[in-house]
Amino acid sequence: MTGAGVLEVVRPGALTTVQDLGRVGLAHLGVPRSGALDAPAHRLANRLVGNPAGAATLETTVTGCAVRPDRAVAVAVTGAPCPVRIDGRPAPWGAAVRVPGGAVLEVGAARAGVRSYLAVAGGVAVEPVLGSRSTDLLSGLGPAPLSAGTPLPVGPASGPAPWALPGTAAAAPGPPTGELVLPLVLGPRDDWFTGAALRTLARAAYRVSAESNRVGLRTEGPSPERARGGELPSEGMVTGAVQVPPGGGPVVFLADHPTTGGYPVVGVVPGEALAAAAQAVPGLPVRFVPLRR
């Protein structure tokens, strides 16, 4: 592969990973989908710099990151709003920005939300593993999380010069504030729970747990009561599946979730609501809105 440049990691932040749209079609081998947790923000960042949606971006966690390109590149930061600086000078968030070669691009700590996305024109061009550049933290596929000094190859820019693209203002809905509302399409195992449990799920004051990660959004709150005992034989899991482990709040499966599992899935959060889940900060109240199919 002929690289078009390199980003040097100056500050990796708490957890910064390479993400694209993930590995499709391998769940039957036990390979999670992975990919950007806030997919709309990832797509927007790519669009702003003229990349295809599947180009790899950097996904930060709360504290941002800093990189130094070895030549001038166009970048865009989306997702969790944060200060953006180039060699210390403020630059716009949610828009294509030119970073001179050798300058430090600082993606600051999130002002709201959890995960910011840094796209660079040409995409982060680490070697794909099984068709994707995504870091899968559950099964350890893809590149390791960023560490200081790591050089990240950048691909050749394919699209038009980003400044020529119209509409650079980020129009994403932004991280949830006040409350995370998650629609919940009931099933396939809602019959494992009592009617009271489903009311608990709809009314209880759940909160986002600090234990949340790329595998799942964990919640703190009452555990909805099961209508039946025993164990469910392992079955296939979808992204957005809400599992109810005994003695804990519901867990919403995110991109790095295991492909099979044995806790009954009471319902599924539709894909379009998962970007908000990816941006929900610990402590935020969570309200499930059960929907009959």
Binding site: V24, G25, L26, A27, H28, L29, G30, V31, V129, L130, S139, G140, L141, V185, G187, P188, P233, S234, E235, G236, M237, V238, G240, A241, P258, T259, T260, G261, V265, G267, V268, V269, P270, G271, R293
Partner: protein
Amino acid sequence: MRVLPVGRRALLVEVESTGRAQALHAELVRLREAGELPEVEEIVPAAVTVLLDGLEDPRALAERLRGWDVPAAVPAGSAAVVLPVRYDGPDLAEVAALWGVDEEEVAAVHSRTEFRVAFCGFAPGFGYLTGLPEELGVPRRAVPRTAVPPGSVGLAGPYTGVYPRTSPGGWQLIGRTDAVLWDVSREPAALLAPGTRVRFEAVP
């Protein structure tokens, strides 16, 4: 056969037994390869279910599936993968006691059993192999190990499995193979996939 909606883009098809789930999975894969299945991103077999994820119109497919007669038997498929095993695992004596036989007999029974990968999960390349008779099922260890070495051959419930890499695990370990179960630089990366037939061969 029950067809359960899963969210707005997936279906879970539930059948009576693991054998039926294997047959259903084989049939769905055959239909997809023949271009007779609507576009689907994932077909994931498990113990008694097959998940179809990434469907444009799950309702339409659910209607079609409800009228289905799934073949009872799995097609024979290609030749078995043979895994050489040293039957010297740390739980061999425990399994022998549970089965009421001596350690040599555990190896003999295990290595003459025809296994099939029912499904994968837990880690990439980890297959849940069926084939042992029901009465030889063993419980998981009360205290899981924090690090099981790669290639370890274990038993849990009705299943046999081989750890593709070092990971925590609670299966009863009866032996070890040098076979590489999972290698992303290899095509295919997974030595075992759902439907693969497997035999273990005792080696000194």
